[in-house]
Symmetry: C2
Subunit: 406 residues, 2 copies
């Protein structure tokens, strides 16, 4: 019998307890041993709840040799980092949904797990109930992953779906997301791309074997997107999505989060509302896409439980999950990234556009004084230069959005 | 060092050798041991090829204690069944892409593998390079799978994509598939649904733990589909796909292969050309969809290699993959399956339609003398009765196609 401690009993933590007891028999069968939850640790009192008899402290759980697994569902860095580190050092498996902590300290915590022959697992940190972490380090066993791109944040995808389908403005769509409980009253982490950035950093670290730090990554949010951008993209056969992406290049790992035009034919274009979709590209397998509910109590809890089963089945450390620390030198300069661009400008005639932007493909249907067009592939550096030139010519550059091929 | 024998050196077998030597270093790292291919067995001579020095016989490979893994890429039942069984009995792992064999004898071969503490693995048998077998038995660790539905055959999906997008007839689209090398000159196994049936049987056996035999499964192919069916479905907001599906019901496992209307909004609707998409529904996780290239030399070979890594990492038998034999009593009568239906009829007025089919939702835009409509949910049994009644009233029933909600 292995005992479990759940540290942090909010939405995800309570979901884990619920899913565990609902499926306990099948979980124990898959795990190959008897399991029970012995401690539930939370800053709020559990008195008067069905969980009251399991209430305990972190220090109790840490000191208890019966506890083989800690499930960290606190979120944030403090005290989750300290709690996780000490549990691993004490030879306990740690399973988490905490993307902020994995993105900030994953290499270190995985290293400590390895030294202590236990596991630090975090399937729930990316893509909710979609199995993506595990397939990345386990199922795609042959060739090297070349590129990963995903719609990784359900809140922003909900907002953009409303802008695209229902012609809402950004503000209207954000309001609806807040009314539905998808967006926080302070939606900054979603809207500014921070959440998507943490997730693509975790996926990139696994796929490429070297820790990618979020504060090293060029991240653009969706707050500047307008209904006019969406309309121009649609005229050209595209939707706009917030994409986190990572690929190997000669100059290092190119990792970025930004809104991007995606062909309406793409498997990612059809990922709507709060769903997530993650594309993994490798030379042998081609493109594989994983799609599902990217958040929510039960999907996230189910992902935690799948890690629990894995840790129990494996017993010791799973060697295939882990990456080196990188010293932050592993990431390429985002200005070297080359993509096509969509521009919306006013105050420029056809000749001036050609002079500044080279050969372009005009998009029909823009407002009278505006010109929207797609460029040839261009670096971020060159894009900045084009914008400077356009402004110097007295023009307004209303938007500049990347075009991605997935 | 573990030695490998490849038995059957056609498209997949030679792909495995190619992918192995291209990625050998990374494969050995993931597998945690040195690996090499010692024997290649084929009815054709390897003389004059780069593989000539590895040419051998099955009996040599079987008798060689250095050989720890046999990769069976012969296809069909004979001699693959005998070869696989004897290899497992001799304590060698067997890895295969042979869906016909797994669907016919999976329970027995998995049982023998277990008794001999080795593995019988077949990630490549369904969905080509898409990791689907492994996630089904490993990554979706918490709740029970309730339902699986998939576009499992790339050839028929290519044909239907051409019928839908390019308004080709079935015959034109089949011809194009043959010209592109996607369809055999004798396309029966694809077109009649046999291939999709084997694949859904394998997925159902894993998910529900009891062997589902293909010859027990109601299977409808796509040869009767017409451009008019596709047009009527499109008018109502649907596409038509060949769907293999399996779910738990009170009367047993409901497993079926048939063309079906799928909402254009569905994640499966957008699976085009030779791609596959597989939806796994469970109460906790919701719907998860796996998408990718469902066939082809390198994707299939990559799936074989991922099994190779798994078998080597695990060493002994992987207990979570396996199912009971069922005595064929596990499958429900397909006539008890309840879905909405789309009918196209001629010779019936509105009143007669209502009398026979109950409340229906008319589809606009059919030819003059024809009426197309969607019914309420109805059993297969009742559908047969409706068709009998319509014919008795002197009408022609041009098509009757299920409507599925995914």
């Amino acid at each position: 019998m292995t005992k479990i401690a759940i540290i942090g009993f909010g939405v995800v933590g309570s979901g884990v307890a619920e899913v565990f007891y609902k499926n306990r028999q099948s979980i124990e069968k898959k795990a190959g041993r008897e399991l029970d939850i012995k401690y539930i640790v939370d800053v709020r009192s559990l008195e008067g709840t069905v969980w009251a008899d399991k209430a305990g402290t972190y220090e109790q759980a840490l000191a208890d040799p019966e506890v083989g697994v800690m499930i960290e569902t606190i979120g944030g860095l403090t005290p989750a980092y300290d709690f996780s580190k000490r549990a691993l050092l004490a030879g306990k498996h740690v399973i988490t949904s905490n993307k902020e902590l994995v993105a900030a300290h994953g290499a270190e915590l995985l290293g400590i797990a390895k030294e202590n022959n236990v596991n630090y697992l975090f399937e729930a940190s990316v893509g909710g109930g979609i199995p993506i972490i595990h397939p990345l380090y386990q199922c795609l066993g042959a060739g090297e992953v070349e590129e990963i791109a995903g719609i990784l944040n359900g809140t922003t995808n909900f907002i953009m779906t409303r802008m695209f389908r229902d012609k809402m403005s950004f503000e209207q769509a954000l309001g609806l997301a807040q009314d539905n409980g998808y967006a926080e009253r302070n939606p900054a982490a979603d809207v500014e791309g921070t959440d998507a950035c943490r997730k693509i950093c975790i996926l990139a670290s696994i796929a490429f074997g070297s820790h990618v730090y979020p504060d090293n990554i060029h991240t653009e949010g969706i707050a500047a997107l307008t209904a006019e951008d969406v309309a121009a993209a649609a005229s050209a056969g595209y939707v706009i999505k917030l994409i986190g992406r990572a690929k190997k290049t000669e100059k290092g790992l190119m990792v970025m989060v930004s809104p991007a035009l995606i062909s309406q034919e793409s498997q990612l274009a059809n990922v709507s509302d709060v769903f997530n979709g993650i594309l993994v590209r490798s030379s042998d397998t081609g493109d594989v896409v994983f799609y599902g509910r990217g958040a929510g109590k039960l999907p996230t809890a189910a992902a935690v439980i799948s890690d629990l089963v894995d840790a129990m089945k494996e017993g010791g450390h799973i060697d295939s999950l882990g990456w080196e620390d990188s010293g932050r030198s592993n990431v390429a300069d985002w200005r070297d990234d080359v993509t096509r661009m969509m521009f919306r400008t006013s105050g420029l005639g056809r000749t001036e556009i050609q002079r500044i932007f080279g050969t372009v493909e005009p998009i029909q249907g823009a407002a009278q004084e505006e010109r929207a067009f797609l460029t040839e592939p261009v670096s971020g550096r060159q894009t900045e230069e084009w914008i400077r030139l356009a402004k110097a010519a007295g023009a307004e550059v209303r938007s500049a959005i990347r075009v991605l091929e997935y």
